[in-house]
Symmetry: C2
Subunit: 294 residues, 2 copies
């Protein structure tokens, strides 16, 4: 079928734009750089940071990863962030979630200098997003979904959008992006979540459905308006005795069935995931550009 929104291909378009910006910065003597901070031994975190490191290297962005033990205290981590904030050679700082329980993610994210907050998690950047102030950094996953919609030619102006999930990383900022006064937004957005009375009814009226609930294959074919655009942000590990290691990853959308009804749909993997990394690289280069200008 040809109704796939190819996140890998669109991410590659963005990567090539980003690589050009890296080249331009280097010709002016600026080496864009991104610092990863990873605490503890979470295997998924290792994989994510590894993928981001590889992409950074491919685009000419210098990256380095500080790995701290699980026993790191909050004040030790804060001290490291203050040091990175002060280091003018570091343009972007990414503290990989999840952090150990004894460390407050809120405290950590609000300590990263907003100008280096390439994850877009600092309250000031979140506030700027909501206010429509474009001087901030957008969180990578919702910004990536937005780019997918733009570059797949999806009309957002006046569209009915339903966002499933109200998390701080995807659901809330996704809604904030799409209600802005902008021809690539201007959508009528409804945010649904675990307390919503009739999620299916909302889904069925959506021109664009964005699933970020964290619930395996929650979105079924009978919840889709024929022709709707369906974006699957979910990454859920489910047990499957037939799979290697006894488990496999699935999205929030029952892909095979939904694909038959949807106008366009993201595969998963190969949809939103590559876009998150593309936006992170774009944010990093922009941080370097802004610092070079100032």
């Amino acid at each position: 079928m040809t109704n796939l929104i190819d996140g890998r291909a669109i991410a590659e378009q963005i990567h090539s734009e980003t690589a050009q910006r890296v080249t331009a910065l280097k010709s002016r003597g600026v080496q864009p750089s991104l610092m990863f901070v990873r605490v503890g031994d979470d295997p998924a975190s290792k994989v994510y940071v590894g993928m981001k490191e590889k992409t950074a290297a491919r685009l000419g962005i210098l990256s380095e990863t500080r790995v701290l033990p699980d026993s790191t205290t909050e004040s030790e981590l804060l001290a490291l962030i203050h040091k990175l904030n002060a280091d003018s050679a570091v343009h972007g700082i990414l503290v990989q979630a999840p952090l150990p329980r004894h460390i407050s993610e809120t405290n950590i994210y609000s300590t990263v200098l907003p100008q280096k907050d390439v994850d877009g998690f600092h309250p000031e950047n979140v506030g700027k997003l909501m206010l429509g102030d474009k001087t901030g950094f957008l969180p990578c996953t919702p910004a990536g979904v937005h780019e997918l919609l733009i570059r797949s030619g999806t009309k957002m102006d006046g569209a009915e959008v339903v966002v499933l999930g109200r998390g701080n990383i995807v659901g809330k900022p996704m809604a904030a992006i799409l209600i802005q006064k902008d021809k690539n937004a201007n959508a009528t957005v409804t945010v649904c979540h675990s307390k919503t009375r009739d999620i299916s009814a909302h889904c069925r009226r959506a021109d664009i459905l964005i699933a970020a609930l964290g619930s395996p294959e929650f979105v079924k074919a009978d919840m889709i308006k024929p022709g709707a655009v369906v974006i699957d942000v979910g990454v859920n590990r489910i047990s499957d005795p037939a799979a290697k290691g006894g488990s496999r990853l699935v999205g929030d959308v029952d892909f095979t069935a939904v694909q038959k009804v949807a106008g366009k749909i993201t595969p998963n993997p190969g949809g939103v995931g590559p876009m998150t990394i593309a936006m992170l690289m774009q944010n990093t280069v922009r941080a370097a550009e802004l610092l070079a200008k100032s």
Copy 2:
């Protein structure tokens, strides 16, 4: 009819709580204080600031108003704000909108120290609101609407809420308050605006309808689900030859007709307006309490 949500009475409840907190602060030697800054001669601004001054005085909050000429430059205004930020006797700073065109409201609001931003307009406070981080200050009008809903016994948990308007002062923060994970929120929220395809259809499915469009008597009786709670945030001046001065103020809701269909409804005036001032006073006392603690 008895389906009115009496904003004046609820504001008085809050005022008496605030006055008690003022007394407690004074007994510890802290005089809560609020500084108003007004630029130019906008007559509505004079009225608004005057009302806020009077309420502050009644509650025992010290207030002062700095009136600057229309010709004030942005850097002069910024210099004043920096001075007030540094003055430990000033707990709250309110720069009354609208500002003259040559001054960027964005620059001004983001210069007020977040800890003194009792208007809740600083990006950091807006971001904290969105993230569900309760250490920030909420913007007064949507916080006042939220209090009206709570104190009128309106069930928000699981309710379908439609917010008309996507402004930075009411619509967007209102939606952000009501989608939070909280028993006094947990609503399924849709934000409608000028680009929405069928506003009436959305309104008709709302358990709670919050009108903040700035469009005189836009909401008609046939747009209301019988029994719905209707909150009118609008303040619009319309010409009326029969009225004193040739004009009068109306809300965004066609009150007389809508009241017959609604379960509960705010009068206008006497609904949201008094609550905005009540929340401003509450924010100011909280700012003083937080500074006293630190």
